[in-house]
């Protein structure tokens, strides 16, 4: 009897520690918006190939994306974004490494929506800066949808805007993140 209890306890411990700890996606969506009131049109690009991993146990969170993967509606805008602004040939990647600071408030085994606080370091255009934002986790049927919006000051990342278009391009870009995360098996 004692043995049986022990086996069950061990089995439960093993399954809970090795299963459903990390969640990931390789099709995370990151939206970049630098439209201002005086912009003649929307200055907006979307990247659909971002990688994201969340460790539900520690709250650690990591994003990686390729700058060249941002798609703009206008070809010229996309070329300018890559060549003149973020210089993606020199700095092909952007990444975020951080953690959910209120991770204990999230019950990953129960369906629901949780407001999270995320803190970490964003690297883009060869510069690393601290970023802090509120986000949302929606847990449903064993999957997590993570969303967050935050602003980055382009000058912080040494992205310079030519004087000619200085009033047409926002100095802070709005970044919106949407990721549907699935449990990582293995």
């Amino acid at each position: 009897m004692k043995n049986k209890f022990l086996i069950i306890t061990v089995a439960v411990l093993i399954s809970s520690s090795s299963f459903g700890q990390k969640y990931f996606t390789k099709t995370g969506k990151i939206n970049f918006d630098a439209t201002t009131a005086s912009s003649p049109e929307k200055i907006e690009g979307i990247n659909r190939t971002a990688t994201c991993v969340v460790d539900t146990k520690t709250g650690n969170m990591q994003f990686a994306l390729l700058m060249k993967g941002f798609e703009f509606e206008r070809a010229l805008m996309e070329e300018h974004f890559n060549e003149n602004y973020v210089e993606s040939h020199k700095f092909p990647k952007a990444e975020f490494k951080g953690a959910i600071s209120n991770n204990e408030a999230v019950n990953y085994s129960k369906d629901g929506a949780y407001i999270i606080k995320v803190k970490g370091k964003l690297t883009m255009h060869g510069e690393t800066k601290d970023v802090e934002t509120d986000g949302k986790l929606v847990i449903q049927n064993g999957k997590i949808t993570a969303t967050a919006d935050f602003n980055v000051l382009l000058a912080d990342f040494k992205v310079s805007i030519p004087g000619l278009v200085a009033d047409k391009v926002a100095k802070t870009a709005k970044i919106s993140v949407t990721c549907s995360l699935e449990p990582l098996k293995g």
């Binding site: 990390k22 990931f24 390789k26 099709t27 969506k29 659909r48 190939t49 990688t51 991993v53 990686a64 994306l65 390729l66 700058m67 060249k68 993967g69 798609e71 206008r74 070809a75 010229l76 996309e78 040939h89 092909p92 990647k93 549907s180 990582l184």
Partner: protein, 152 residues
Amino acid sequence: MKRKKKIILYVILSVLVIAGAAAIYIYKEYNRAHKDTAKLKADYTVNATNFVNEFTGNEQAANKKYWDKIIHVDGFVKSVDKDDRGFYSIIIGDTASMSSVRCSMDSIHNNEAATVKPGSMIGMKGICSGFNADELLGSDVILVRCVIDQKK
């Protein structure tokens, strides 16, 4: 006197023509659409496994060679992912390996991916945006604006 007037007229006319041409050029350039990947000629034709290996072996050299180039890649379809907004990604490579070539479909050609079956052989064409190295999830070469491209 008459001749002077004629010269002025010509000058004004040519200035107008140049200004008009410049305006048309700027307008066209501003509104230029992306080229349809289906109509572009591939810069490189590669096999998915070798392609990934090239990046794993020397990312810098592979990036220099393939980045922003049009790639035709042949390989085995590991899976076809559809995201919550209906966009398809076709994942090509060796099933024994975690690493793949991830082809994100071009929005105009997105629906063509609906008929792609995992387990089949495929040829895809897209623009290489680089290499996403990840030890945990497997490292992938990413192609964007992809189209299905069966003939070589």
